[in-house]
């Protein structure tokens, strides 16, 4: 018990107390600059943020962002995991290379992509080779969010692949052999052995991706600053500006809890949806 105490105290103070404190803040009009005590305003913050178009838009942007990145990442990562799930010369090197984007800080890689998307950057140059017109990727309302999402797919590919690979390797090989004796074809093996065997890890990967992607911040900060015209302002980015640029910490806290509810709801829905199919 004594061994656990330091950790318990720490997690209590730095993880649980802040949640309660934040919940309390979300019912006040707290302003960090005024040193008078804040007033309790009841549900005013929650009412206000839901009638605020900027907040509703940010939830939509966050949702679109997750939907742009998640399916592409998981599908590509699954394909890659299947490809590297067999020994061949250099397989370790390939796995490591694909994993590198995951280990590098989001802020740092966002800066590299900032150059790639810049007017003289690599992507426009490649377009030029094919006589295609240059795009102002991050300054165009239509392309900014997909551009950020593409970067995030690149970043998340490695970790998803490694997790799915671990899942693939936990499927008993005997299942495949038995099925092949029964004359199952390649697609049938994938559909009836690989996919069901991967389901637990797939559920985990999707849930974690939702939780992380829905909190997109650093990449937005570096690449677009939420623009153009708010088209990449994720909820997390809006919370940051609301709390630390406009000093409205009460309503920022309310936004954080609404985001929390959405993330929890979305990941639970995904988990239930994916596990539910097992029964049918």
């Amino acid at each position: 018990m004594l061994f656990v105490l330091p950790a318990l105290l720490y997690v209590g103070i730095f993880h649980l107390v802040p949640v309660v404190y934040g919940l309390v803040l979300s019912f006040t009009d707290y302003d960090p600059l005024s040193r008078t005590s804040p007033d309790v305003v009841g549900f005013d913050n929650y009412v206000a943020i839901f009638s605020d178009a900027a907040f509703r838009d940010s939830l939509l942007v966050t949702g679109r962002y997750v939907l742009m990145v998640l399916p592409v990442t998981v599908a590509l990562a699954l394909g890659l995991a299947l490809l590297v799930n067999r020994p061949f010369p250099g397989v370790g090197l390939v796995r490591s290379a694909l994993y590198v984007p995951h280990i590098v800080a989001l802020t740092a890689v966002s800066m590299v992509w900032l150059w790639m998307y810049s007017s003289n950057g690599l992507i426009n140059e490649v377009l030029g080779w094919f006589q295609l017109p240059a795009q102002s990727w991050l300054y165009d309302e239509d392309t900014a969010l997909p551009a950020v999402a593409a970067m995030r797919v690149w970043k998340a590919l490695g970790s998803n692949m490694v997790l799915l690979l671990a899942g693939l390797q936990s499927i008993p090989k005997e299942l495949y052999e038995a099925a092949r004796v029964d004359g199952a074809r390649r697609w049938q093996l994938f559909r009836h052995i690989t996919l069901p065997g991967l389901r637990p890890i797939l559920v985990y990967v999707v849930a974690m991706d939702i939780i992380f992607l829905a909190q997109g911040f650093a990449e937005i900060f570096v690449l677009t600053g939420g623009g153009p015209l708010g088209s990449t302002t994720t909820t997390n980015y809006l919370i940051y500006t609301e709390a630390f640029q406009y000093n409205r910490m009460g309503s920022a806290s309310a936004m954080a809890f609404v985001l929390f509810a959405f993330i929890a709801g979305a990941s639970l829905l995904a988990v239930r949806g994916m596990l539910g199919r097992r029964q049918s």
Partner: protein, 313 residues
């Protein structure tokens, strides 16, 4: 880490002849299949590596050439960007700051999280499972929920930064290195990894030592901790990268260059509209290098920090 996934030596797939994904096992398409796979993988690897290649290239390209089309291999490479990044942009100080913060955080996690994980696995007490799972559940709380309260709590630390005993009046630990370490000192994920590790180890040694009259602390520090080197490595790596790569917390609590961390120092290149990509990329290379070095040194630890949390969990 019994479930450790290691790229070169992990539990490999069965021999090629019995593999499922072969289209015609006795047909002549094996070579064709293998070629397709090699081309696909090589292409993907090259694509994934492209941003890194140009990151390095830009870092060595003279600043005045960085606005045209940039060659993969700079024609006249220069170190100018590195000196600009280190000296003009104060990256040197940021590297030192981040190193200090990371050292404290790694130490905190290695001591407190491992102790807790050990106790949850080997010395269960009434309700310990419930306590353990509520600790781990905190990892799912979005950062933005705790960000503002943590900011206010850091500002309100009593008797620090001009505060009175009630934590009023001053700036507390805002804009200090101590404030930077606060939310990372114990990462709940590390408690989880430690418990997973120790639940896999045998209790016989502990029982034998107990019969010999050894205290619990002695059993932990003399018997189990020395056996847990892979765990220490994983937790050190996990904590180091977590705090080294963190952006939002330093962004929120630091205001002066004196307490800036690496990621924040990089972001300072961005503020004046015209981004100087040369020095910026030199900075990115310098900041990324330690993480890549740790990765190359201990890939197994890096990857098992990720997979052990899932497959066994």
């Amino acid at each position: 880490m019994t479930n450790t996934l290691s790229p070169p030596t992990g539990r490999e797939a069965p021999p090629a002849a019995t593999r499922p994904r072969r289209r015609r096992r006795r047909g002549g398409l094996d070579g064709h299949d293998r070629l397709t796979r090699a081309v696909l993988l090589l292409g993907t690897c090259l694509l994934v590596m492209v941003p890194f290649a140009w990151m390095i290239s830009l870092a060595f390209t003279p600043p005045e050439q960085a606005f045209g089309s940039v060659a993969l291999v700079p024609e006249d490479p220069t170190l100018e960007n590195f000196s600009t990044a280190l000296l003009d942009a104060d990256l040197l100080r940021a590297l030192a700051n981040s190193a200090i913060v990371a050292a404290v955080v790694v130490l905190g996690n290695c001591v407190i999280a491992i102790l807790a994980g050990y106790a949850f696995a080997m010395l269960p007490f009434r309700g310990s499972t419930a306590v353990f799972f509520s600790l781990v559940a905190t990892t799912a709380i979005p950062v933005s929920v705790t960000l503002i309260p943590l900011f206010l709590m850091t500002r309100g630390v009593p008797l620090a930064g001009g505060n009175d005993i009630l934590g009023q009046g001053g700036s507390g630990l805002l804009d200090t290195l101590a404030g930077l370490t606060l939310p990372h000192l114990v990462m709940p994920m590390n408690i989880f990894l430690a418990r997973q590790y120790f639940s896999g180890s045998s209790r016989d040694l502990a029982e034998a030592a107990r019969i010999d009259g050894a205290g619990e602390w002695r059993i932990f520090s003399r018997i189990y901790l020395p056996l847990a080197k892979p765990l220490v490595a994983v937790i050190a790596i996990f904590s180091f990268t977590g705090v080294w790569d963190d952006f939002l917390w330093p962004l929120v609590i630091t205001s002066s260059p004196e307490s800036q961390t690496v990621q924040l120092a990089l972001a300072r290149f961005l503020v004046d509209g015209n981004v100087q990509y040369g020095p910026l990329m030199a900075g990115v290379v310098l900041v990324t290098l330690p993480v890549i070095a740790v990765f190359l040194f201990n890939q197994r630890g890096f990857i098992s920090g990720l997979t052990d949390g899932s497959v066994k969990g």
